[in-house]
Amino acid sequence: MNAQHEVFEEELAAYALGALPPEEAAAVVAHLAGCPVCRETVARYRETATALAYAVPLRPPPPRLKARLMARVRRPQRGNWQWLGMGAALVVATLLLTLAAPLIFATRPSVAPRVIPLQGAEAAPDAEGYLILEDGQGLLVTKGLAVPPEGQVYQVWFVDPAERRVSGGTFRTLPRPYGVYTVTVPSNFPLYVRIGVTIEPEGGSPRPTGPQVLRGVLR
């Protein structure tokens, strides 16, 4: 481990604990993008931070908690929109309308959009997202994804069963809690099994090189 990583370790520890303000966290993410050594350190610190959960005295949860969980599970599922705050839900509704407008005007029966939840990955564990697919068009809604460092972008990947990746395009987030971006959906989309979003140099990469920020399962 060289001296530069050593100096950086304090930042990594604070980052792993979620104790960095966003702009400092973004600087760490930028470094992580090109440094497997520090990525490894962050992973170890994260595991260590998790161990703190085991330092807490065990208190039995009230039995009704499990009963409530199982009752909710047995109810028919509603939409996938629980986490979306009102603001973002409105943005999405508006965009869905925009997407659906050509369908409405063409008086074709509108196909219900497919919504695929995405989960924060190692470089952005708190981020969340949804891929919304409608009539071959894709929209990506993100929550809690930091502005990428200067010279870097986010890139969307579709992964097939043989682990081959095809790019779904790049985007840059703005300093806002939510973002909505269009995604290039491959024409043979049903063949793909997973989606991922990674940090890449400006202009995008032919294949993923940076850490992952979001991921989801397509089928």
């Binding site: 520890a13 604990l17 979620g18 104790a19 330092a55 990955a121």
Partner: protein
């Protein structure tokens, strides 16, 4: 005690990844088994952060509901399920703390576990490892200098940034940063020496 908790036969033997695969396929019993295994600690963590059993209950319900909905998106090869689970519980509890301005619990000390709580756990092999980790982390925390333990607890259980901690303690930011780092590294080394990391 003649009425042991109902156990789903077989499920207790499955590891987390196998349970998650079943949950992704809509298996309610698998979710019940995962809850039995990790629910008590998830609840205890939320309670430690929030100091309020009702909010802690909502947080845990919310997290396990997310697991039910998104089990398929968890990639077991990338990290341990418990790392993800407790990070999720912690994040949501801290969100709730900020949102509702719940007063966090004052105590810094790690209290002894009650025998009753320990006995409430299901008999799963994985629990032996959890017990060992629990003991080791308490020992490691107890071995930390008070000042280091304090910054670590403020960061982890209150979700404060290093700046907020520095302000609260009236210490320079650099001091807080280096204490956080030392504390985390000592915990890591302590656990690694005992073979408690994969």
């Amino acid at each position: 005690m003649g009425d042991p908790a109902v156990k789903e036969p077989g499920y207790a033997d499955l590891d987390d990844a196998a349970l998650l695969m079943r949950i992704a396929g809509g298996d309610e019993q698998a979710l019940a088994a995962l809850y039995d295994r990790h629910g008590p600690r998830a609840f205890s963590l939320a309670l430690r952060i929030l100091g309020d059993p009702e909010t802690a209950e909502e947080v845990v319900l919310d997290v396990f509901w997310s697991i039910w909905q998104h089990a398929g998106t968890f990639m077991p090869e990338r990290s341990r399920f418990t790392t993800w689970l407790y990070a999720m519980v912690r994040n949501r509890a801290i969100d709730a703390l900020r949102r509702r301005r719940v007063r966090p619990p004052r105590a810094y000390e790690i209290e002894p576990e009650s025998a009753e709580a320990a006995a409430a756990d299901p008999t799963v092999e994985a629990l032996a490892e959890a017990e060992e980790l629990s003991r080791a982390i308490r020992e490691a925390m107890a071995a930390l200098p008070e000042a280091q333990r304090q910054v670590l607890e403020l960061a982890y259980f209150r979700g404060w940034s290093h700046r907020e901690i520095a302000e609260y303690l009236g210490e320079p930011l650099g001091t807080v940063k280096s204490r956080l780092h030392l504390a985390l590294r000592k915990l890591h080394d302590w656990l690694a020496e005992r073979g408690l990391f994969p």
